[in-house]
Amino acid sequence: MSDGHTQFEDYGSNPGDPLPMLPDHVSHGRFERVLRARHFAITTEIAPPDSADPDEVLRRAALFDGHVDAINATDGSGANCHMSSLAVCAILTRVGYSPIIQISCRDRNRIAVQGDVLGAAALGVCSVLCLSGDDVSVGDHPEAKPVFDLDSVSLLSTIRTLRDENRFLSGRPLDHAPRLFMGASINPFAPPLANRVHQFAKQVAAGAQFVQSQYCFDIAMARDFMARSRDLGLTEQCHVLMGVGVLASAKTAKWLRSAIPGVHIPDAIIRRLEQAERPKAEGRAIAIELMQQLAEIEGISGVHLMAYKQEEWIGEIVTQSGVLKGRKPWAAPHPLIPGAPSPATVN
């Protein structure tokens, strides 16, 4: 790569090898490098397949090539069964992608979680997102037993203990600590609005180095939250990536708003989609505008793009938004899967 961004691309002959660790970094990962270098970062989510076929994972990831800095591998999101986040991440790291493993507290107790954290690091995962998780009652196995032995903040503390104190919660020492860049999720758009920033402060106190937010469709609220975060000095300790959603239609937007608690979509956005001749294109235009506006807010380090079932548009959206200012994120060095779908473009 000769575009001046070799700092993020210095993999050896095998793209799956860990990058050399830079001074003051906690992980070997490219995602941490991008954020610490103060570049505006883009992350997105991969929908884990309902399949045991690894190629399906690579096929889905190929759509993000050269457009995102890290890919979140969801962990039974919505309390539905899919391929595990650990397996998705292992498939991705093998070929050089930079995944963020999501760990939810719903399905595993502290014994299983610590084991998975070590395993993930061993498999080349460099970033982790700690979540409480959706309740089993909303998923496709409502009869399952919810675990919730830890919550997301205790999970952060747990991983920090493994990484920085070189030991299990029990005190038993580790031979080799997991080098993980730690993150959590925030939702500045749900009650109790005035206290969300204090919740964020607790996550930072427990070790969060980056946070990704729930869908942001309300710039005023995002500005307000960021002002409070800056006042508490949180943006100096933690990178904030705001969630940006790509809405397919007014109907989807209304459904999201009513069916997923914690999702806040102002009426103005719904009206725009209703009045648009081509709602899908309008949904993308909204996402692009939001990205541009968020990039202007002091303290925001990037955006987390959620384009469920519209993943093929991610590249186009990122390019059109211009938020990367010409920087090109990592792309697989050669086609990994013959016949992989290519990203969509506007005709």
Binding site: S132, D135, S137, D151, A190, P192, A194, N195, I260, P261
Partner: protein
């Protein structure tokens, strides 16, 4: 009881004062009991604590009581038993994502904490419950630990 629980949060400051006032007496009495009778009556003390705290807080006897750091709203009533909440799923009306008929335990907690003198304790990070303590009396532990 749900209604009483909401009342307790609304009166978190009064609860805090009342608790601070009676706590030394309770712990003192229990220390005396321990000295005189050892572990006898532990069962009765535990049952009494469970009854009282169940009435006011819907206490689940997790044995790791943090009410004074959670605005007098018991986190064990959160369907995800989150100890550092709330989660991201709170509804627009402040109710729980899992149990829409219930006010989010953590919306209540931050509200209660704002009324308390030492409400800022809610800002410190709590670790997960020690499951071995389930069903044990927090008062007895205080009396023995001190």
């Amino acid at each position: 009881m749900y209604k009483v629980r909401l009342w307790s949060v609304k009166h978190a400051r009064g609860m805090e004062r009342f608790y601070n006032a009676i706590n030394p007496a309770i712990v003192g009495t229990l220390k005396l009991k321990n000295r005189l009778f050892g572990t006898r009556f532990d069962g009765a003390v535990t049952a009494l604590e469970a009854k009282g705290k169940a009435l006011f807080f819907d206490c689940k006897m997790c044995g790791n009581c943090v009410l004074s750091s959670t605005g007098m709203s018991c986190p064990m009533n959160c369907p995800k038993t989150i100890r550092n909440g709330p989660c991201g799923g709170v509804r627009e009306n402040g109710h729980c994502e899992v149990k829409p008929e219930m006010r989010c335990v953590w919306v209540a907690a931050w509200d209660g904490a704002s009324r308390m003198e030492k409400g800022d304790a809610i800002r410190s990070v709590q670790f997960a419950v020690d499951n071995r303590s389930k069903g044990q009396s927090s008062w007895l532990r205080l009396a023995r630990d001190e």
